[in-house]
């Protein structure tokens, strides 16, 4: 029998090789999970001399990975830019914080509600998805500003600039997840689950649909894809992830104020997506890591080098210079981001940078 059906072949290969295939397919995930799992072991001893609490920062990286991967689905895969995603993060954070502090809801119930509320807010503002390109960018930027102003001005609800204090920790009976390491593992288990979910979504029918509408809405419509409904769905999903990350963030920090959810947060989120790599699930992790570690590293510089110029010490005053340069330079020289750039480099032996000044043929 020369021709065997696929099913027969698979049966003969047996369980072992199928497991191997699964491992190969998810190798990045497994490498990341392994790295996350062993990190506290080696990170703690070197945290002190390094001057960076690696586990603490990685915990935040996990939180921002959740929202960045959602934003990446929206921006990278569906091609719908959002410059106001900090709004959903803020909505999630405030929902969970206010429900637990003011209404006395159980923590986990409040966290779930923060996802739901963020998704509902996403649905309510979904009409702006009719806009395209610059218009959508400006409208979402406007949304971010509106959300920020509301967080600050609805004093009876949000305490205004005083913020919400005493947000309870996420505690599970029997599991020790309120310690520093416990929080770290909890956040990363959540983040890895979200990454798996999103990785599956982009390979599913939905994922193919949103990739199609990214390239041409008209062509996608002609193929029978309900463009506006798919856009709304992916926007709501992305908002829900923002809400989840925001809720977790609120419980981890224990204190939130409107300043944490200003337009700068939205722009940092966009930076994470862009730097990590659009149209790449793993780009979200890389982007969140890079963007959150840069300030820590610069703050730790005096400890490493002993004497640094004054302007390096006062870095936090103008970290925007760095973010601005990163955004511009990434767009010019590495428009597909770190992850795509590096994988191109290893796979095709090609420089990860593009030369924007190279002469091309007649356009």
């Amino acid at each position: 029998m020369a021709e065997k059906s696929k099913a027969e072949t698979r049966k003969e290969e047996g369980l072992g090789s199928r497991f191997l295939a699964l491992v190969v397919r998810n190798k990045i995930l497994l490498i990341l999970a392994f790295f996350i799992a062993i990190m506290p072991v080696w990170a703690d001893p070197i945290s002190k001399p390094l001057g960076i609490d690696l586990v603490y920062v990685m915990r935040l990286v996990g939180v921002f990975t959740i929202v960045a991967v959602g934003l990446n689905l929206l921006m990278g895969y569906a091609g719908q830019i959002s410059l106001g995603h900090g709004a959903f993060f803020g909505v999630g954070a405030y929902t969970s914080a206010l429900l637990t502090v003011k209404a006395g809801f159980p923590v986990w119930f409040a966290l779930i509600l923060s996802i739901v509320v963020a998704a509902i807010v996403g649905l309510l503002v979904a009409p702006i998805l009719r806009l395209k390109g610059h218009y959508l960018a400006m409208a979402t930027l406007g949304l971010g500003i509106i959300a920020f102003v509301f967080f600050r001005e609805l004093v009876w609800l949000t305490n205004g600039n005083d913020g919400v204090r005493g947000i309870p920790e996420l505690a599970l009976p029997g599991l020790n997840i309120t310690t520093r390491k416990g929080e770290y593992f909890f956040v990363w288990i959540l983040a890895l689950l979200v990454l798996i979910l999103c990785g599956n979504i982009v390979r599913s029918r939905q994922g193919r649909a949103i990739k199609a509408l990214h390239h041409s809405e008209v062509a996608a419509e002609a193929m029978g894809i309900n463009v506006s409904w798919h856009k709304i769905k992916i926007f709501m999903f992305s908002a829900a992830l923002g809400g989840l990350a925001g809720g977790v963030f609120a419980h981890l920090q224990g204190y939130i104020d409107p300043g944490s959810f200003s337009i700068m947060l939205s722009i940092e989120l966009v930076t994470m997506v862009v730097v990590g790599g659009m149209e790449s699930i793993w780009g979200a992790v890389a982007g969140a890591g890079v963007i959150l570690f840069i300030p820590e590293i610069i703050e730790a510089l005096p400890k490493w080098l002993g004497d640094v110029p004054r302007w390096v010490e006062r870095y936090s005053l103008y970290e925007g210079i760095l973010f601005g340069l990163i955004l511009i330079l990434t767009m010019i020289f590495m428009p597909s981001g770190i992850t795509k750039g590096l994988s191109d480099m290893t796979r095709f032996r090609r420089s990860p940078f593009v030369n924007p000044f190279r002469k091309k043929g007649v356009e």
């Binding site: 960018a137 500003i145 004093v155 005053l317 103008y318 601005g324 990163i326 955004l327």
Partner: protein
């Protein structure tokens, strides 16, 4: 209404750049920030006489605009809309932080053009206000002359119709894009100067959003729609906070959200602007 004049100028900057390059310059508000802060530096720190301050400020802002185009926009001329948006946002953050670096204080008092009030029949008007209106009217007139009477201006209008066709008839599209940024930089600088009794580094984003709102209200790309848009927005911003505090009794802090709300509503209901004609989108 003085605010309205500022929005008119910022909105014209948005429109001119949009027309010749097809992109929205998210750093437009930052040009105005530089305008106000540079005016302070020239007038107060260096003690330059006022007419020279205006010229120096406008020139510096024009140079900043040109440099932005060469360093940020030109390398991305073949990239998509998303890349241009993100790169100009990068430029905007960069400029804001530079502003914070060089002018770290919360606010700088820029001197008035001429002090004092003018008695008018019925009311007294501050002479600063007259300067604002006068300079805005002058810039609108000069822009009209430039776009209708000069070769370069007409070439830039040709770019706004169809860049490829413009390039085919021998117009250097890349130069036109540079000129657009230079003009927009100068207009932004003037806006910042007029805007400022108090200039500060953080003003760019809000001025940018308001200017963009004004240009959308007037119809994006319609240089003279910007005049109507800016004045309407200026008027709304005068009226709505009063309405909010007096009638509804809520905090006037919501004022900052007005432009954003107007922007979203106009984009949803009349994306072509209150003056614009319907547009047919090409696939």
């Amino acid at each position: 209404m003085a605010n309205g004049c500022v929005y008119v100028l910022v909105a014209m900057g948005f429109n001119i750049i949009y027309n010749s390059t097809g992109i929205i310059n998210f750093a437009q508000g930052e040009f105005s920030m530089f305008g106000g802060l540079l005016a302070f530096t020239f007038a107060v720190s260096l003690g330059v006489p006022l007419p020279l301050v205006i010229i120096l400020t406008l020139l510096t802002c024009a140079v900043i605009g040109g440099v932005t185009e060469r360093l940020v926009i030109y390398p991305l001329r073949r990239a998509g809309v998303l890349a241009a948006i993100i790169a100009t946002i990068g430029a905007s953050i960069l400029y804001k932080s530079l502003g914070r670096l060089f002018w770290p204080k919360e606010a700088y008092k820029v001197p008035d053009f001429t002090a004092g009030n003018l008695p008018m029949p019925g009311a007294t008007v501050s002479s600063q206000f007259l300067w604002a209106i006068g300079l805005t009217a002058l810039s609108v007139f000069l822009a009209w002359l430039f776009f209708n009477r000069t070769r370069t201006g007409k070439a830039m209008r040709a770019c706004s119709v169809n860049r490829q066709a413009a390039s085919l008839v021998g117009i250097n599209v890349s130069h036109m894009s540079l000129y657009a940024f230079v003009i927009a930089g100068a207009l932004g600088g003037l806006a910042g100067f007029i805007n400022a009794p108090y200039a500060k580094y953080s003003i760019g984003l809000f001025l940018g959003i308001k200017g963009f709102t004004a240009s959308v209200v007037g119809g994006l790309g319609n240089t003279f729609g910007a005049v109507a848009g800016g004045l309407v927005l200026g008027l709304l911003e005068e009226l709505i906070p009063g309405f909010l505090t007096v009638v509804l009794g809520v905090s006037s802090g919501f004022k900052e959200a007005i432009a954003a709300i107007v922007l979203i509503l106009v984009l949803l209901w009349r994306p072509q602007g209150i003056l614009g004609k319907g547009v047919v989108e090409k696939v």
